[in-house]
Amino acid sequence: MSALGNIARLPASAIETANIMLTADDARIGTTPRDVVWTHRKTTLYRYRSNKRKHPVPILLVFALINRADIFDLRPGHSFVEYLLDDGFDVYLLDWGVPNDEDGETGLDYYVCDALPWGMREAQRSSGSVEVSLVGWCIGGALCAMHAGIEGSDSPARNLVLLTTPVDTSESLYTSWVGRESFDVDFIADSWPTVPGRAVDFANKLMKPVTNFWTTNRRLAQGVHDGTANREAHQAMAKWVADNPPFPGRAFREWVTWMYKQNQLVRGRMRLRGERVDLGRIEQNLLVVTAGADHITPPSNTVPLLHLVRSEDVTHFDRPGGHIGLMAGSRARKETWPDLADWLADRSGP
């Protein structure tokens, strides 16, 4: 197209781009049919039933506390849940919900010692399986690792899959932000019963300010202009990114202090309800997935785990992509999901 033609099309492209951005809330995400199996406080356990079930051990998906678990089931045709169901797995999803001020006293111990084991128990009861496969992503992965680090072989988890999970935060940008003495996490947690999700999201985006605040939108506009933009994909992701549940104050204080100020998890000094979280007690079949371009949890934050666990079956996939793109990006369906499903299938037999 001529330069003049391109300029003439600019207003139409701008309007279309604005429309995509302004109507992102209308995107349909998390649409795979599911049943509510169990609820406690704000936590809900969902079950997705596979009509092709061939693996006896069900999968329990656990996501972080700062975004919604819908990312596992982003949109029809591009959903990890859908992929697993199609592959013959029975899938459960532990959704932490949206905490309110009354949940300000909820600490990491609630997630690791109550909600997660109780969710696993309900998954076992409803599926009839003695064991489950835990798939944790980001903070969700850390919670799963903490659970396995406390329970060891007593945990009903047969397989443990940790996706971009922070374990050793000594080389994290977060450590230079919130790990410093002048960042008064106690003052924040005392002032705010729950830390607003928007604030956490803003801090996350600030790690790559130009890319997150400008380039994403510029690329969308360019894609619209060139006719290559995928409206559904962009809107689904934009809707998910903008939905940030608050972080319970106590859990925020503990997460920042124990993980970033004191780096307790990798040092084996973390204690939950008097029990030491010892990563050396992890005996489950372990799959660790890192993303080469992950700026939130770079591989160096996760890899030390590989040398700490007692598991005999340890696998590490280092894939291209970012923290979220690894599992929800356009290439995830071809480059990440099949390997995860194959790894799980080999270890989910009777």
Partner: protein, 129 residues
């Protein structure tokens, strides 16, 4: 005279502008990432966060005080009620789990008894024959 093949492979002015712009954007992004990774930015962020939290706390405390003086339940009162509900829910959950465990034990015992009961008459029959 220029070779027609090389003229074809040369980017158009529009493409050149795009390449230049993208290069500038990438460089800015890298520079900004270096900036946010600096110690000074970390310090600034910590101070800014503290100030923002303090301001929002003053605002919400004032709002709550107004509500309390008007005799209307404030945020704190609702939060307290919510916490009580949470504690009740915790107790109910533990109770439910205990009941389910007892129910499972009972079912196992019943099944065991039924197996034994079914086995006895068979032995009696075999003795008669």
């Amino acid at each position: 005279m220029a070779d027609p093949a090389s003229r074809e492979s040369r980017p158009s002015p529009e493409e050149q502008v795009r390449i230049l712009y993208e290069g500038a954007e990438t460089q800015t992004a890298t520079a900004m990432e270096q900036l946010v990774a600096s110690q000074g930015f970390g310090e600034l962020l910590a101070r800014m966060t503290e100030n923002l939290v303090a301001l929002s706390k003053v605002g919400s405390d004032v709002g709550d005080l107004v509500l309390r003086n008007l005799g209307i339940a404030g945020r704190g009162d609702i939060t307290r009620l919510g916490r009580q509900l949470n504690r009740t829910e915790d107790k109910l959950e533990l109770l439910l789990q205990r009941i389910e465990e007892l129910q499972d034990e009972l079912n196992e015992e019943r099944a065991e008894r039924a197996t034994k009961g079914a086995a006895k008459p068979e032995r009696a029959v075999s003795r008669k024959s």
